[in-house]
């Protein structure tokens, strides 16, 4: 069986003539555990929470180093404390390298500095001027995984103030073009993308004839859609073609993904239960204080665990090695009563005095909880001699920090930020609290990128890993 798998690992030709590659197989590493560990795939994950954290006292551990204590915003780390390092005292400067522009409107203006290490354009645009960390490592890591990278988001809608780009945290540099990677926020579609044509390891084939028929129809439809797109693209002028080329390429990619069933690998790999229909997306107006507000809630509490499980299996089954996850939009207007059971306002207003510092911490903790659950799942997923988490670097970033209440108390700033890093890829040694003394959050990403093998000490305008993360 092993030898047959090994021979099949060379490129296969699928039914539509497309070339498909099998994912990384434990078999490739040979039987020896050491060999397995040496060739196990490395994974990279970056998470983002659209919350400006509350006062530093709600998250900063008193203890520095190992055995740190958990304050309110970090309570969900209890079970994975030894696998996660908390870095406090991070800052995005108002000017200089990786700055947020100072004069620009805070919120999405942190996306560029945080994820790409580039300064925000003068107009406060949420669009980075350079590739994000996940996209810089995606090609390096991809190997034979089905997806070059996955981009997910839990919050499906903007809810208020109308800017879809405020929920995009992944940008790919493709030649001269910087392409935004719109995240997938439908658990339904994300599930189908991951598990259509999926064959769990150790046998088990798709036997449902109804599903099989549907797959055949889907392939036929997509085949025609692709043909028509190809014809159209060929008729476009060069500028139009450049603009729409990716549409065609994504059709082709999807067609290849569903045209061939892929053998999954990984000892803990399993097909997840079907999540069913997506929870409904909702915005509603509620009376808050003395006036009504538009807030939104789309069942994020149900969506987040599904997405977490999908990320887990995407790694465990080696369907991808790079994931970015925007848990919430920048300046999220998510309904905090529906989300956390605290009084009705939205996540953004909470930081403006719409709630207490503790309540803000609780909403930060909502993001920490889902990140921690993924850490826990990967930690419990055996791989080779260790676990998937041992071969992973994960970073969790937040939109903003909180200025010193004594000096101003503005909840919207690049000061007093914290971030989390988990996993043991590349010699990362998690499980401690580090005070960064004004280092940029992007230095965390540089560390994580190096941990998965990027041979570069810079990201955007910033340079240098945080050595303590490896010590």
């Amino acid at each position: 069986m092993k030898s047959s798998l090994l021979s099949r690992r060379t490129l296969l030709t699928g039914s539509a003539g497309a070339v498909v590659a099998l994912p990384w197989l434990e078999a490739m590493a040979g039987k020896g555990a050491a060999a397995q560990a040496a060739t196990a795939p490395l994974r990279f994950m970056v998470g983002f929470g659209g919350v400006t954290c509350g006062g530093p006292s709600t998250f900063t551990p008193t203890t520095v180093g190992a055995g740190y204590d958990l304050k309110r915003a970090l309570m969900p780390l209890a079970n994975v404390k030894d696998d996660v390092t908390v870095v406090t005292g991070l800052a995005i400067p108002p000017s200089g390298a990786g700055s947020w522009g100072g004069g620009s409107i805070w919120h999405a203006s942190s996306i560029g500095p945080l994820l790409s290490g580039v300064s925000t354009p003068d107009n406060g645009s949420p669009r980075p001027k350079g590739p994000t960390a996940d996209q810089r490592v995606a090609d390096l890591l991809k190997g034979n995984a089905k997806f070059r990278s996955l981009e997910y988001r839990v919050q499906p809608q903007v809810y208020r103030e109308h800017n879809g780009t405020w929920g995009i945290i992944s940008y790919n540099q493709n030649g001269n073009t910087l392409q935004p990677n719109e995240p997938q926020s439908s658990p339904r579609i994300a599930y189908d993308a991951l598990f259509t044509g999926f064959t769990p390891p150790g046998g088990g084939t798709m036997v449902d004839p109804v599903a099989q028929q549907k797959l055949l129809r889907d392939r036929s439809v997509l085949d025609l859609v692709k043909q028509q797109a190809e014809t159209l693209i060929g008729r476009l002028s060069m500028p139009d073609k450049q603009r729409l080329q990716r549409h065609f390429e994504e059709i082709r990619t999807l067609e290849m993904q569903i045209a061939n069933s892929a053998q999954a690998s990984g000892v803990a790999c399993a097909q997840l239960a079907d999540p069913g229909a997506d929870p409904a997306t909702n915005t509603a107006t509620y009376d808050m204080f003395d006036m009504a507000r538009v807030v939104g809630y789309s069942g994020e509490n149900e969506r987040a665990p599904i997405m977490t499980n999908l990320m887990h299996m995407a790694f465990a089954c080696d369907q991808t090695r790079t994931i970015s996850m925007a848990y919430t939009f920048a300046q999220s207007f998510i309904d905090t009563q529906a989300l956390m059971g605290i009084h009705r306002t939205d996540l953004h207003e909470l930081g403006h005095g719409g709630g207490t510092d503790e309540e803000t911490a609780d909403c930060t903790a909502w993001h920490v909880k889902h990140f921690a659950e993924l850490v826990g799942l990967l930690k419990n997923t055996p791989e080779g001699n260790g676990t998937v988490l041992d071969n992973t670097a994960m970073v969790m970033l937040f939109e903003g920090g909180n200025e010193d209440p004594v000096n101003g108390g503005d909840p919207h700033s690049g000061q007093n930020m914290f971030a989390l890093i988990a996993g043991r890829a590349g010699g990362l040694k998690p499980g401690k609290h580090i005070i960064a003394n004004g280092k940029h959050p992007c230095n965390m990403l540089i560390s994580a990128m190096q941990a998965v093998g990027l041979q570069s000490d810079t990201h955007g305008e910033l340079t240098g890993k945080i050595p303590e993360l490896f010590a």
Binding site: S125, R127, R160, T165, V221, L232, L244, H247, D410
Partner: protein, 592 residues
């Protein structure tokens, strides 16, 4: 002249066309040549005759209908030659736009008679800039492709649940599960509506690959659903692929085909696919004539869908598309403002500025109570304002809802709103180094009234910009975020609101009535309307210099119609440049 051109064309004398096109660029001499070429018996695109060797550079032969080479739809298209439009050389560039969520829902309603508004959340959210259609935000992604596929599947299921639905949609009764004639007929008719052009026989034939699935399942509608899915994922449905045909002597200018022109008009005025009548006018060749075009444009604009589109244009322009109030109050505000827009633009087309000067407003009991006005006997009614402190748009809750900070009005944000949304005069961001607290100024010892707190803005580096914004906002302070009159600060009865406001010019005013007069007297108000209409049409923000001439032309149409939005729009669309497209260069890195 028509006869001459017809002769020229029939002789396939390409250089003549090229010469005529060059003359056209030279001005008056070419006025009879036109961007629309000679009449023809087929919808062969303008410009094709001028293309080299009979093989058009962009798209090849047959681009006129988008049909594959060698296939010719059977529709006739006898079109007189319109005059060469003035201003073609200054036409601003546009990109190929993608269908917005709103347009998607409307098009699906029109095509399939179903509502997918609850299903489109899987499509990437649109960005409001202030319009939801800016092409620079419409980057393709795997999420887009997956979302389009998912909604197409849902739509195909919803559209064919009952026998009545199936019969109405397919339009023929299949004699068998694999009835190819009926199937082809459905493919052709549905594609025509969705892709706004006829498919060639070969293109229709490609769908026949779906029929074996119908036969296998012994159900014709298995294949019919696959047709719907494929068409809704077709890039020509998802994008308005304006390929056109080249205009000789111009490297980046194309003349749209009549089919493309119909789609452009329909998506601009209705925000959805062309209806049967519009497609018919394309097929008959009437849309390509100035008179025919104007007739169709007026028909579309006067249709409830056109009215609704113009109302939404205003809602996005002035930021009340999503109101921060209870459902009932939000609906009442929207009803009030929509009624005013409809009256000024359509019912009795009049100067657009009447939006700001109306002395009555369309309210119900709820709004009457809120505004402190006499309530109508029942439902909604036009009700006169008691005095001149309130007039027009600026007195309405939908406008006054803007400029909130926290739970209260922010004079800064209200001032910024007036300057940016009404006058298109952006306020620069705070200079580097100035802390942008995104917070209202904190209370200062002994002076907790809003006026005192905002006094901090009027000194030092803040004063330059805040001096422009804050005094405007203070002139509206007597009206809270729902448009209710108030005499003191929220929760501070000791803080009397004077309502004294001032424009950056130094002119003072008090309240929405007086501010309206000042805005109407300000040339920038009309200029801003023209700019927004232009931006909405070209689906991108105005580009300084490049668009100056085009904007000036549009402004002249406003001046020529005493600023009737309806008539100016009709004149502008009919002026001839509307059927041309200057291809926007590709921007590798978009940072809007």
């Amino acid at each position: 002249m028509n006869g001459l051109l017809r002769t020229v064309r029939s002789a396939r004398s390409a250089p003549i066309w090229a010469i005529l096109a060059v003359c056209a660029c030279a001005g008056e001499a070419g006025r009879s040549a036109g961007g629309k070429p000679a009449a023809s018996s087929t919808p062969t695109p303008p410009g094709t005759p001028g293309s080299t060797g009979g093989n058009a550079g962009l798209g090849g032969p047959g681009t006129g209908t988008g049909a594959s080479p060698g296939t010719v739809p059977t529709t006739s298209n006898t079109t007189p030659v319109p005059p060469v439009p003035a201003g073609l050389s200054t036409l601003g560039p546009t990109a190929i736009p993608r269908i917005t969520r709103t347009e998607y829902v409307a098009s699906i309603k029109s095509l399939l008679n179903i509502d997918v508004s609850g299903d489109v959340s899987v499509l990437p959210p649109d960005s409001f800039t202030p319009f939801d259609n800016a092409a620079d935000y419409q980057s393709p992604s795997s999420t887009l492709i997956q979302g389009l596929r998912a909604v197409a599947e849902i739509a195909s299921d919803k559209a064919m649940q009952t026998p009545e639905q199936k019969a109405a949609l397919v339009g023929c009764t299949p004699a068998a599960a694999n009835d190819e004639a009926c199937f082809r007929q459905f493919v052709a008719s549905f594609s025509l509506k969705a892709l706004h052009r006829p498919l060639s026989d070969a293109e229709v034939g490609a769908f026949v690959a779906f029929l074996p699935f119908a036969q296998q399942g012994n159900d014709f509608y298995i294949a019919a659903k696959m047709v719907v899915q494929a068409v809704l994922q077709n890039m020509e449905f998802v994008y308005r692929t304006e390929i056109g045909s080249p205009v000789t002597g111009e490297t980046d200018l194309v003349s749209l085909t009549d089919w493309e022109l119909g789609a452009r008009l329909s998506y601009l005025v209705w925000g959805e696919t062309p209806d049967a009548a519009l497609l018919d006018s394309v097929a008959k060749g009437t849309l390509g004539t100035p008179a025919g075009f104007r007739t169709e444009a007026l028909r579309l604009l006067s249709d409830p869908r056109g009215v609704s589109r113009i109302q939404r244009f205003h809602a996005m322009s002035f930021g009340y598309e999503q109101l921060p109030h209870s459902a009932s109050l939000s609906l009442a505000f929207r009803t009030e403002t929509d009624a005013l827009v409809k009256r000024v633009v359509f019912d009795t087309p009049s100067p657009w500025f009447n939006l700001f000067q109306s002395t009555d407003t369309y309210i119900n009991q709820e709004l009457a109570t809120l505004y402190g006005m006499a309530a109508p006997a029942s439902g909604y009614a036009w009700t006169p304002y008691p005095d001149a402190t309130r007039t027009g748009l600026l007195s309405q809750g939908s406008i006054l809802s803007n400029g909130a900070k926290g739970n209260d009005t922010s004079p800064t944000r209200r001032g910024k709103y007036i300057l940016e949304r009404m006058l298109c005069s952006p306020v620069p961001p705070p200079p580097p180094g100035v802390a942008n607290t995104d917070q209202p100024p904190p209370p200062v010892a002994g002076a907790n009234c809003k006026k005192d707190r905002y006094a901090a803005h009027s000194t030092g580096t803040c004063a330059g910009c805040h001096g422009q914004m804050d005094p405007i906002g203070f002139g509206l302070e007597n009206y809270d975020l729902s448009g209710k009159r108030r005499e003191t600060d929220e929760g501070r009865p000791e803080c009397t609101i004077t309502g004294a406001g001032q424009l950056p010019t130094g002119t003072t005013f008090n309240g929405p009535g007086e501010l309206s007069k000042l805005l109407v007297a300000d040339d920038r108000l009309g200029q801003c309307l023209a700019q927004r209409l232009y931006e909405f049409t070209v689906q991108r923000p105005l580009q300084a210099t490049t668009d100056d001439a085009a904007l000036k032309t549009l402004r002249e149409h406003f001046n020529g119609t005493q600023f009737s939005l309806r008539d100016a729009l009709l004149d502008w669309l009919g002026s001839g440049t509307f059927r041309y497209r200057r291809i926007e260069p590709f921007k590798a890195q978009v940072v809007p």
